[in-house]
């Protein structure tokens, strides 16, 4: 029990890199030299609760990578309703897309969920880097493609599934993307209120609360925001697709 993993600097011979940076897919595929160059052009920024990384309508000036924590991408309608389109996790890229071309502005708001750290780089430098580096360009194409598939899958779920199924899908996918095993089940590492869930699946907060109460009664999940545990992932996935 008292055995702790050591500080792993010994196993990281590519020292100059701040810890974790060489786990980011896009950086990993660069040559050591290119990576240095890119890192020298990137700055790290921390954000906390209540702040914005950028807001819908702001001009797009930077390309971003999530280094630590989670970031939510939100759009809102004129009458104040909001929806959360995506939770970005470490390694995820954002503003690697079209709004960065031509002088467009951000199509949505990027908001930290708790404390986060992001790397960013002027979009011009980002484009130059991609042109110099076919491997990086291919990686961005692969990444954007997978984001597109994911977004379309989400649209499908919103178009065809019931509120129950949508919420079950959400919990299942979060469990797989950001869950840690625990004796009682899979705990989500992202803090997620009922309100957050509601925004992610396009229902009202009340509906999300009622459905979660039902899931809890059926022993599929336990706990609330700070400590949300998936108790029966297989059954949740079944429910999502039934």
């Amino acid at each position: 029990m008292s055995k702790r993993p050591k500080k792993s600097s010994a196993e990281q011979p590519t020292s100059g890199l701040p810890l974790g940076l060489n786990q980011i897919p896009l950086l990993k595929i660069l040559s050591a030299q290119d990576r240095q160059q890119v890192l020298s052009e990137m700055t790290e920024t921390r954000y906390g609760k209540g702040q914005y990384i950028f807001r819908e309508g702001d001009p797009t000036e930077y390309f971003h990578i999530v280094k630590e924590g989670s970031v939510k991408c939100v759009k809102s309608s004129l009458d104040g309703k909001e929806c959360t389109l995506k939770v970005l996790m470490p390694g995820d890229l954002f503003c690697c897309d079209a709004s960065a071309f031509d002088g467009a502005s951000h199509p949505g708001t990027a908001q930290p969920m708790g404390d986060v750290s992001v790397l960013r780089m002027k979009k011009e430098a980002y484009f130059k880097m991609l042109r110099r580096n076919p491997d990086a360009a291919m990686e961005v194409i692969r990444y954007l493609g997978s984001r597109l598939n994911e977004a379309q899958e989400k649209a499908k779920v919103l178009a065809l599934d019931s509120a129950d199924q949508r919420l079950a899908s959400l919990l299942a996918s979060l469990a797989e993307r950001s869950g840690v095993r625990e004796p009682s089940g899979i705990r989500l590492t992202v803090r997620l209120t009922r309100q957050d869930m509601a925004n992610m699946v396009g229902v009202t907060t009340e509906t999300a609360i009622r459905i979660m109460a039902r899931f809890k009664k059926d022993r599929l999940v336990t706990g609330t925001a700070a400590r949300l545990v998936i108790r029966d992932l297989p059954r949740l996935k079944l429910l999502a697709s039934t």
Copy 2:
């Protein structure tokens, strides 16, 4: 009335190209030489009603470009419900995305809407082309980015808007993307049944019919599938965002 536009071959000095090919953005940015090479690796195929270009689950082997006509991208759920995620038009790319990497399979079905013609190319050749040609890679990144934004906008609409608004959004965007001016309004060049509309906005056919009946009564639209005319685009757009 009897005056017709001439066959425009005279205005197309880049002759060797089949008509229209040099209007496709991705091909346009290539050097004449690269374009020849790419075209030599592409084959053109025609499809008609009732056929499939590929189906959900088929292995992804080719990269595609729509040359003529419209193609719909469809996903279906286990219980037989379908949703149409996107209508591709000439110049649109498909399978330029993640499913082409690693041996993945198509996440959805591609179905012609009427007669279409598509160009296709082995995905290996496509990747090689992108690696050789940074301009092409950048164009694909730009394109995928805009597709991602569009898909997320669609998800937002599905999550937050009423059935009326979703339908109004659909008609407005189609009018802008594929409409031709006519004395009575903007006629859609894609043939679109009420059922098609229903699948595109995530409602039942009956609901789509009822809403369209209302739109017709309010003089926003006229006609059905074969000849669908938008009579009041501004008001339709207003309705979409109210």
